[in-house]
Amino acid sequence: MWSIIREAFDKTLLVAKAYGILHITNSYLCTVALAYGPSMIPTINLTGDLILAERISPRLRKVGVGDIVIVRSPVVPSRVVTKRVVGMEGDRVTYLLDPHNSDEVRSTVVPRGHVWIQGDNIYNSKDSRDFGPVPYALVEAKLLWRVWPPKDFGPMQHIAR
């Protein structure tokens, strides 16, 4: 009976080790993210794309304007959002207040330690135009390479169209 318990313990330890390696890779190196929703059309499909995201650039402060990033939502902390960086700290950002109805623009300077993120589909995106600039420390990962669907396999475009 003890040999069964020992075997169970060894197998569990093995699973725990494998999970630990997977978790550390996911949290600090590279992870696969499912990005869905209308806010990044046409760059990311509505029904969802699987995209490789790396977590090293944000730590090394190598995130810049034009990058698509995964950011922890400042409004619902349990959620992450995928948007494009439009302005870094110190940049002046100009945006349409209500793209459906008017041409009125507003312009702000991104404060120190923050970034301004916007979805590519400005007509249907909740982003910095709604919740303001986001502290840089909330940027979690940078999208690198789309792996699914196969017809869109390839690197994520760096510059917004």
């Binding site: 630990g20 390696i21 550390i24 402060r61 922890r72 404060p111 420390a137 909330l138």
Partner: protein, 166 residues
């Protein structure tokens, strides 16, 4: 022939190195997972949390469970990544959660004037206990909840101040 025996020796040495390195890696990962997700220690220094924490530095234990479970409340001392300098981590007390109304003195050294704010959704209002010398939410506004790294619950050094923080 000699080359083959060299390769054999190298192979067994490499195997043993990998085995030992993997044990070291597992140990380090265990330490890291405990440090990042369960409990860690930090040196906290500066005037902003006087008299609760000393100016010259206290070693405190930080637990990383409460903020993930959403169990933080006003009165908790939390460590938070600074919204104005992402490389810096600050220790302050939570004064208001999302939806709370917070009233604070705008210039505590000079006047009695105060301001009241409503803490927005997904944010917390943090203040240092020493309102006269603390850069906190009165200066940089409410902080998104996602910036909270953990809650300081026990001071371990200096020994005469050993005890739970509350």
């Amino acid at each position: 022939m000699k080359l083959l025996s060299y390769i054999k020796q190298w192979k067994s040495a490499a195997r043993e190195t990998i085995a030992r390195a993997s044990i070291a890696a597992q140990f380090l990962s265990l330490i890291h997972i405990t440090d990042a997700y369960i409990c860690s220690t930090t040196l906290v220094q500066g005037p902003s949390m006087l008299p609760t924490l000393n100016y010259s530095g206290d070693v405190v234990l930080i637990e990383h469970l409460s903020h993930r479970l959403g169990k933080l409340e006003p009165g908790d001392i939390v460590v938070v990544r600074s919204p104005v300098d992402p490389k810096k981590i600050v220790a302050k007390r939570i004064v208001g959660m999302e939806g709370d109304r917070v009233t604070y003195l705008t210039e505590p050294s000079y006047s009695e004037s105060s301001r009241t704010v409503l803490v927005p959704k997904g944010h917390v209002w943090i203040q240092g206990d020493n309102v006269y010398a603390s850069a906190d939410s009165r200066y940089f506004g409410a902080v998104p909840y996602g910036l909270i790294q953990g809650r300081a619950f026990l001071r371990v050094w200096p020994i005469r101040d050993f005890g739970f923080l509350g």
